[in-house]
């Protein structure tokens, strides 16, 4: 199938290195310590953060740093077939783990010993790139909760179809069966914290695809920073500063 036509347009009208539109909103769950909605095109994810708080299960308590826990789920209405999805299936366990590890790597856990941080992410609408959207939403929610972090970790995926590296795959492109590289990136530190791919790619092509995904992460980071600045300004206004 033709995923990029000779005019250089993808099925949805984007060019190869263009991302979908994103939109983010902070503070959508009032009861949570921090929360955010993050949208990449038709993919929509909500994240809520609780903590740092006392460790619920004392046996899990760590003396020199905080415990980070993450729960990922998909709303039944998030995909077209509206099927009831079992909780805790293999895929969501895996994604929960990926998100937890990525977030844990940028939270300054040693500043909050003997405490616990819970991250809940739920996919409201799925159209490819849910993993990346979850990480981006979680970053915003953590920032909203005021949890100290090394950097803003952002994520984006890139794939390789029709011999072209494509940024930010949507569902149709994702299900084409080509390689799909998801990168988690710390923009200030210029470090990759997450790299996932479940396909084979020649090394040189892989390098191009990964670099493209990193560019995507940087773009997300700029956007997230703007959103946070805006949010901070609004908070300042409210306080009358």
């Amino acid at each position: 199938m033709e995923f990029v036509n000779p005019e250089g347009l993808r099925l949805d009208g984007r060019r190869a290195t263009e991302m979908r539109q994103f939109r983010a909103e902070i503070g959508v769950v009032s009861r949570a310590d921090g929360s955010a909605v993050f949208e990449m095109g038709n993919t929509k994810v909500i994240a809520a953060v609780y903590g740092p708080r006392e460790v619920q299960n004392k046996s899990q308590q760590i003396n020199d740093k905080a415990v980070v826990r993450c729960e990922y789920s998909m709303a039944n209405f998030s995909t077209g077939d509206r099927m009831r999805k079992p909780k805790g299936d293999r895929r969501s366990t895996e994604i929960s783990l990926v998100i937890r590890q990525t977030m844990e790597a940028c939270i300054l856990t040693n500043l909050m010993p003997r405490s616990q941080i819970d991250i809940f992410v739920q996919v409201l609408q799925a159209d490819g790139g849910t993993r990346s959207a979850c990480i981006n939403a979680a970053t915003l929610a953590l920032a909203d909760a005021g949890i100290p972090m090394r950097d803003l970790v952002t994520s984006c995926s890139a794939g390789y179809l029709n011999s072209t590296a494509l940024l930010d795959l949507n569902y149709v492109e994702d299900s084409a069966g080509g390689p799909d590289v998801t990168v988690g990136f710390l923009p200030k530190l210029d470090k990759v914290t997450l790299l996932q791919m479940d396909a084979k790619l020649p090394q040189d092509t892989f390098k191009n695809v990964m670099e493209l995904a990193i560019e995507g992460c940087k773009a997300v980071a700029n956007y997230i920073r703007d959103i946070l600045m805006e949010n901070t300004k609004r908070l300042e206004c409210r306080r009358g500063v």
């Binding site: 036509n5 000779p6 005019e7 009208g13 979908r20 038709n42 077209g80 077939d81 149709v172 084979k200």
Partner: protein, 937 residues
């Protein structure tokens, strides 16, 4: 800007699902006009002053693609909505349109109207998708007119009356294709236009087309829904229709559901299906399964068989269903195969065909539109009705015609003229026809392909020598032996006597994959071409000339890169060890077969090359004997050789190609190298090795051979290849040519060897019957065969030299590649044969000749003879008044008064002459010189 498009889609399970897709609208899509003041003009493709600028709708593309391909039509805007619709409806037209758009010399510009901010149209309630797309086309046309202003006339071409009316109402200028083409003032372009169905009825000029007189000739095709359910219930059978090359009124449909071939007799049962169409077939009642053969042939026009080359395999030969027509053997004939009739066509395989207009007198008051019948060069294709305004111009031409439709009322399909190739009988014209008919790509290589070549002059670099994967073998005395004048030297050999008394023998093959890398335009092109094509007077290369004749060619006295297979062999030609390596060699001599043979035969010569040659020849003879002992067949083919005038390119002389010991010597080592490589790559890649197999012929296939042999009192044992080889050896007749003739007849009973991927079949099916080898592949000719390039990559990967390219992980793609290789290989052979036939005709044009011929088959009206001297075969008709009787059992034809009889394999004298039964239709005719035989007797 973002638009959301939602639509409802049925899932595979039958549920309904709402799908929402994002649809981005952009402001960076440009109009493609180089004079535009607003847009970025870097990608502009249209001309500076288009007059007018054409916008075409979907149906114009689908129906008039031949017109669009004509250079007279240019400055065309192709809207993305049109591209999308064409893609959904007809993928081959889509590909043709795409190649027009990417062709730098044509001014076709793709405008992505669906993603342009100003030309995107939203679906309206109650609007059909067709109406919506028509509206999108009008909006885009309008946009172009407004965008480019009054300077340019933007014209919408549409044959849809409603669309045209709306366009004109909206202030867009619109015209039908026909009226636009008329305005161009080039009447011959009108021939290219496909007539819309509504106008079809008014073709009163041809008598039997008058509506009142038209009667239904064929049965209607069943609707698709009925076909699908019929297939499911097993009433219908689906398969690809293949028409018999030698009898166009007989076709076969290989059906998986029956596990056998269904035979379809006659055009009525074929029900408008073309060769290559995927059809649905219904079986006829069993009592109608036989006896129709002779009727089918006689009740429709009887086409006379032309003189041709003898078939080189069973795939070329006519089916053996009715060896002798009109015989009385129906009672005890073998159980017949199922016959059927076509009830529907699932996928058409229509393309364009080469041929000529059937000679006809110019109708009175000519100059206007004339209806003519087009006769394809490919006999499997029925005549095609066309309309033309230039009949007097076309009568002596080879033309290309495309099929448009075939309805139940007309005996012939209707089509339209596409272009003229040239004058009939002209060598260049006929050669082009040969290439087109066999789908051989003969356009020069594109600049992208040529850009992949290393800079010239090329020579082995110090990096090549320092590369650890490459062994320096320049010290070896390597030489090549090829046909005289060979420029694409794939292979070279060496043979060193070792102190132990053994020999080190090396086969060195041009290292083509060092220059042709996977995924490059060069590799794609080579993979598409599949093989070089050898015609009598020219060669169509698979790889560009610098690679073919210089960089890869293992010429004498230059250093070249090679891929080597090196064995240690005992003097009894037993292989002790085999190794493979990339290498650098320097050939010391490029010998021709004749030279090599002369050296070996000249006992005075004791130079090193000659000594090596003799050693190799001794080894080759032993290897050959071992192979024959294993049961390899020595089949014969009647290859002819032309001597061509260097200036006029006309054939000066023809004769049989002489095979010398030196040929056999080289062949033997190539076989051995191929077998060694096959073993190696299969061991390493059991799932994706590209191998070559030769299926064991069935008893049924060998039937004609057995029958012919028994007619001359010869019993053949065909139980195994070994048994057959032995009986062929024993088949020695009264004259020296007899054995060769039997072998030629045996060859045509075998099917062809084919490429396949090891993962597709199980090990016993890998067998190569002709060579009696359990494994075989092609490694030794990478310059002219893509299969060998592929095998080189496999071998290199198995040695850890490089990574296996990605295609090897994709089974479906591998199958596609091997299918394409088989298709190209076969077409290349057909093209070579056709080229030889063409040159034979040219040769005999001014040289009526008497010669000796052998009868190879008896027919009701005469017999087929083979002419050994010229390597051709053709029918000899006996005069009707003779009252000839056919004796099938004895394979004889005799006069009713028993005065004369002819039997199979008998020698006869014939006269060969080119005649023109119809103007501009020369053919080679064979006639019997009767009295010579009588006097002999």
């Amino acid at each position: 800007m973002l638009q959301s498009r939602s639509f409802v889609k049925k899932t595979k399970q039958g549920g309904v699902r709402k799908i929402v897709r994002e649809h981005y609208l952009r402001d960076d899509i440009y109009c493609g006009a180089p004079f535009c003041k607003v847009c970025d003009v870097s990608g502009a493709k249209l001309s500076d002053a288009p007059s007018p600028l054409l916008v075409v709708d979907t149906n114009v593309v689908l129906n008039q693609i031949d017109l669009l391909e004509n250079p007279a039509i240019d400055d065309v805007v192709v809207l993305s909505v049109v591209l999308q619709e064409v893609n959904n409806k007809n993928i081959s037209i889509y590909n043709r349109l795409r190649s027009l758009c990417s062709n730098a010399s044509r001014k076709f510009f793709v405008f992505s109207n669906e993603h342009h901010r100003d030309t995107y149209v939203k679906d309206m309630a109650g609007e059909t998708p067709n109406d919506r797309n028509d509206r999108a086309i009008r909006v885009a046309t309008r946009w172009y007119q407004d965008h480019l202003g009054g300077a340019v006339h933007v014209l919408l071409l549409t044959n849809d009356r409603e669309n045209k009316r709306k366009a004109i109402e909206e202030g867009i200028s619109a015209e039908t294709v026909e009226s636009y083409v008329k305005s161009l003032g080039q009447p011959e372009l009108l021939d290219l236009i496909v007539q819309p169905p509504s106008e079809d009825v008014k073709m009163e000029d041809v008598e039997d087309l008058r509506p009142s007189k038209r009667k239904v000739i064929y049965t209607e095709h069943k609707p698709m829904s009925e076909i699908t359910s019929g297939l499911l219930r097993g009433i219908f059978h689906q398969g690809k229709l293949r028409v018999n090359r030698y009898n166009p009124f007989e076709a076969y449909v290989g059906s998986e559901s029956i596990g056998d071939e269904i035979i379809i007799y006659g055009r009525t049962n074929m029900n408008r299906a073309f060769d290559g169409d995927v059809v649905a077939v219904e079986l006829l009642p069993q009592d109608q399964w036989q006896g129709e053969t002779s009727i089918a042939i006689t009740n429709e026009e009887d086409e006379e068989e032309d003189v041709h080359l003898p078939p080189s395999s069973a795939d070329d030969a006519p089916r053996a269903t009715n060896l002798v027509q009109g015989s009385t053997g129906a009672a005890n004939s073998p159980p017949s195969r199922p016959s059927g009739r076509v009830v529907g066509i699932i996928k058409r395989n229509w393309h364009s065909y080469c041929g000529s207009v059937e000679p006809m007198p110019m109708p009175a008051g000519s100059g206007g539109v004339v209806h003519a019948l087009f006769v394809s060069k490919d006999r499997r294709i029925p005549k095609i009705r066309i309309q033309t305004r230039q009949l007097d111009n076309l009568l002596d031409k080879r033309i290309v015609v495309a099929v448009d439709k075939w309805d139940v009322l007309s005996r012939y399909p209707s089509g339209h003229y596409v272009r003229t190739i040239g004058v009939i009988g002209d060598r260049d014209t006929e050669t082009e026809v040969v290439l087109l008919e066999n789908d051989v790509e003969f356009k020069p290589f594109s600049s992208q392909v040529l850009a992949c070549l290393p800079p010239l002059p090329w020579s082995v670099s110090s990096e090549d020598l320092a590369n650890p994967i490459r062994q320096d073998l320049r010290h070896l005395q390597v030489f090549s032996v090829d046909p005289p004048g060979c420029k694409d030297i794939d292979d070279a050999l060496h043979c060193t006597a070792l102190p132990s008394g053994n020999f080190e023998v090396g086969v060195h093959i041009a290292d083509v994959t060092n220059f042709v890398h996977p995924g490059t335009p060069l590799d794609d092109e080579a993979s598409k071409r599949g093989t070089s094509v050898y015609l009598v007077e020219r060669r169509i290369d698979m790889l560009p000339k610098p690679l073919t004749e210089d960089i890869c060619s293992l010429r004498a006295d230059v250093e070249r890169l090679a891929f080597s297979v090196i064995w240690e062999m005992t003097s009894e030609a037993d292989i002790i060890s085999t190794r493979f390596t990339k290498s650098v060699i320097k050939s010391s001599a490029a010998l021709s077969y004749v030279e090599a043979q002369a050296r070996m035969d000249d006992s005075r010569l004791v130079d090193p090359v000659t000594t090596d040659l003799r050693n190799m020849n001794a080894l080759a003879k032993i290897m050959r004997q071992k192979r024959i002992d294993r049961g390899a067949l020595t089949l014969a083919s009647a290859e002819v050789k032309f001597q061509i005038d260097t200036e006029t390119h006309d054939p000066l002389d023809i004769g049989m190609y002489q095979i010398r010991e030196a040929n056999q010597m080289v062949e033997e080592f190539m076989l051995a190298a191929n077998i060694s490589v096959a073993q190696k790559i299969l061991d390493h890649f059991p799932q994706c090795a590209l191998l070559r197999r030769h299926p064991t012929p069935t008893k049924e296939m060998l039937e004609p051979l057995i029958r012919t042999a028994s007619a001359v009192g010869l019993q053949l044992d065909v139980s195994s290849s070994k048994a057959l080889a032995d009986s062929l050896d024993r088949a020695v007749g009264s004259d020296p040519y007899f054995n060769k003739l039997i072998r030629i007849l045996a060859t045509r009973c075998m099917s062809q060897a084919v490429y396949f991927c090891s993962g597709e079949l199980s090990a016993p099916e890998y067998y190569h019957y002709g060579l009696a080898a359990p494994l075989y592949t092609h490694f030794t000719s990478p310059i002219r065969r893509y299969a060998d390039v592929f095998v080189h990559r496999l071998l290199a990967a198995s040695l850890g030299i490089n990574r296996l390219p990605d295609v090897f992980q994709d089974k479906a793609q591998l199958t596609n590649i091997s299918d394409n290789l088989n298709y190209r290989h076969r077409n290349a052979q057909m093209a070579s044969r056709a080229s030889v036939e063409l040159h034979t005709l040219i040769y005999f044009r001014n040289r009526p000749t008497d010669t000796e011929a052998r009868i190879v088959k008896i027919r009701s009206n005469g017999f087929i003879v083979f002419v050994p001297k010229y390597g051709i075969e053709g029918p000899v008709c006996l005069s009707k008044e003779g009252g000839w009787l056919v004796d099938e059992q004895q394979q004889r034809i005799k006069k009713s008064d028993n005065s004369i009889y002819y039997g199979v394999l008998q020698t006869v004298q014939i006269h060969m002459e080119v005649v023109e039964p119809q103007p501009n239709r020369p053919k080679l005719q064979l006639t019997l010189i009767e009295d010579t035989y009588m006097t002999k007797k």
